[in-house]
Point group: C2
Chain length 440, copies 2
């Protein structure tokens, strides 16, 4: 008989791996942040006793969701400008607002808001790309969530850094500072092919190998990006990145709305990961990522919300459903991306892209206890014929009641335990009043 | 000074008409179910005193949503079969399940579930098409929601009727029974061009004129429907309906995923209403309705969830966002279907299609007080730069706290006042246990 930190008894348990599995009336045994065992409820008491035991008799337990593409701090700009063409939105609205407002304290307040929203919606890990990542890191550290933070690099000066060299240097400092942190990892985050020059990309490639970190980059978001690259470089962006040598399992390519069959083959041959942001792609009308074709080619696909300025919610349950629905419509095949495949994209596939699949992404013995409980005892989830269908097509983020990262409970019966929502809302309203255009 | 039934003070008020309007710190005055006045909060007390006064200091008040295409009772089949091609789904799963289970009591239980879900999500009126509409009518009557119920007609026999003549006869009885009901209207609901013969459609057209009711029909849902019609009738379904004379403002055409430019012109010239079901169309991979093109041609577009067997949620907030996003992507124009246009589709446009725009669809003096309050004082809706953007892109059905139909409060602080959710869940689970395939 072993005494452990935590035993959770759940009506349903969807571990994600093994694939397409639903365990009923099982218990998960957690000790020192890790999953020690998954056992039928009537067997667990033969082997374990726990200091904390929790019953979820109407709930489904599953791995925490991984939001694999965010600009967390941009939550402060949620709804500031909508329904505009991408370039007007970026050039005349978002970039000027960022130039005016982005600072260490802006990023801290925006990250607080985003992380609170993500935990409330069942996200336990996010993959961020933004200025002042050290401000985001402080909030990640305090809040207990897990994150991979981008060492952002862009050819334009910002309040965060004046030159590619300074971005690289500050990124390195971030990496060094958090290299032993249990919940924070870093990756290079060159913004996009059209905003980062070849020599910088070469330096990033070398350093990424040396530090053994991944690379997170917007690629092929718009058709304009493709034609501009053909004009400037005589080739499409992905061909240019291939020439540089960037296509590898280290690379996570965000968006990828414009892809030829040959480019899909490059991705599957080189192990490039694709991060799909369906809500953002639709809202900015940037194109339809060929998810079904990529999936059939064996490309590792994960899902992100993008920033709240182009979505406008950090709602992974919504993006999971959107991914499954949109993939079917684009492929003209209602059987493509079935429910469980969409769940994998929001969990284990994202963990793989981050190089963290030995730690997170599924509820398996030896992995960290990053978990969420979803209440199925509500009108919206009745009747329940298929637990996984229910998770993907019927439930929503509001049904997430409890959230743990590394066995620490960050939300309990919908109350955040590590963040003060009243204070966050007050701070954000203060920022909103400053940022709000005077005529609106 | 006039004494009225109800005064509601709201932080924000989005009346939908006038278009794109946000009133701040206004009050809505309700008497005998109708809206008597909309006034600034500091003015209302000069003219009115109320037996009930309610304060919504953090909320946005707007018209109740109209779910303009449902098969309410199919909520009992939610998640029974997903991720299948449309024809496999229909022929091998849904139709056999319906043949086995549909009855008066099935429809009553399914309607209870659907109506509870709809009220909880801010829907105050729905436009239904299903067997045993009299069972649905009983639940509508008791629950206090508003509905337009289809006098369904289909060439196949069902537990509800054996022949087109019997469907017509039973429809007429339904119409007669509810003709003076304050919240129930009826319309003819011929299932689809491929399931209803010309002579029946002719009879429906004549009767619809006589009874002055609308016609609600699935049209151009799939490409297969088009090719089958060309084979059987030598023309596309819409051309056949045009020949019969059905194209008029009386007709609401659901789905319309396959449309030529000429057919779009027919719709705008004849006043045909289009009902868009984005979630269902994506899930069944039936095609992309050209919403932006239809909207630019002046066609009246409204939104429906379709049944829970093909969605799997009766979540109008999700469908409103989906409509705005998908229209942009299909038109390749991020400025198409801006937030307020999407809200109109879920309110006033739906009321027009139902012929009820003199009564519902906007918060205007003289209309019925069908209203919902949405809480903006949460993490997910911060900061608030644009109230209408927040409603469409950031909020969700879980933020609806209070719902009124004709001034009667059907949900109060998220508790239904006219329905017993515990009992509904119990009944539905009983049905689920009967329906669930024995091997799952």
């Amino acid at each position: 008989m072993k005494t452990v930190d935590l035993i959770i008894h759940a009506r349903w348990l969807v571990p994600v791996l093994p694939k397409n599995t639903v365990l009923e009336f099982h218990s998960i045994v957690v000790h020192q942040g890790q999953i020690l065992a998954l056992l039928p409820q009537d067997k667990v008491k033969d082997s374990y006793t726990a200091s904390t035991e929790q019953y979820y008799n109407d709930h489904c337990l599953m791995p925490g969701l991984i939001n694999n593409h965010t600009h967390a701090a941009m939550s402060l700009l949620r709804g500031l400008s909508d329904d505009l063409p991408l370039m007007t939105w970026l050039n005349d609205n978002i970039w000027p607002a960022e130039e005016k407002w982005v600072s260490d304290s802006f990023v801290e307040a925006g990250s607080e808001l985003a992380i609170a929203e993500m935990i409330r919606g069942g996200t336990t890990c996010f993959n961020d790309m933004y200025f002042f990542p050290d401000a985001t890191a402080r909030v990640v550290d305090k809040s207990g969530i897990r994150a991979n933070l981008g060492m952002i690099v862009i050819d334009f000066p910002s309040a965060w850094a004046a030159s590619p060299e300074e971005y690289m240097h500050k990124g390195q400092l971030l990496h060094d500072h958090y290299r032993h942190h249990a919940r924070i990892t870093t990756s290079y985050a060159p913004h996009a092919p059209y905003t980062v020059a070849d020599n910088t990309l070469n330096a990033i490639m070398t350093n990424a190998e040396e530090l053994d970190v991944t690379i997170h980059m917007h690629i092929h978001e718009t058709s304009g990006e493709i034609s501009q690259s053909i004009e400037n470089y005589g080739m499409r962006p992905l061909a240019r990145l291939k020439q540089i040598g960037l296509l590898s399992p280290r690379l996570s390519a965000v968006h990828m709305t414009q892809l030829t069959d040959e480019e899909i083959t490059w991705c599957s041959d080189t192990g490039v990961n694709v991060i799909h942001c369906p809500g953002s792609n639709l809202k900015l009308a940037t194109g339809f990522t060929p998810i079904s074709a990529l999936n059939n080619s064996g490309v590792n696909i994960s899902i992100g919300t993008d920033g709240a300025a182009s979505n406008n919610a950090l709602d992974m349950f919504s993006e999971i459903k959107q991914t499954a629905l949109l993939a079917k419509a684009v492929a003209q095949d209602a059987s493509s991306v079935p429910a469980h495949t969409a769940l994998e994209m929001a969990t284990i596939n994202a963990a793989k892209a981050l190089g963290l699949d030995n730690m997170i992404g599924s509820l398996e013995v030896g992995k960290m206890a990053d978990m969420i409980a979803i209440n199925f005892d509500e009108i919206e989830t009745q009747p329940c014929y298929d637990t996984i269908s229910q998770l993907v097509y019927a439930t929503g983020r509001d049904k997430v009641t409890d959230v743990w990262v590394a066995g620490i409970q960050l939300m309990k019966e919908r109350q955040l335990t590590t963040m003060n929502t009243t204070k966050i809302i007050k701070d954000v309203q203060h920022w909103g009043n400053k940022i709000r255009p005077k005529n609106s």
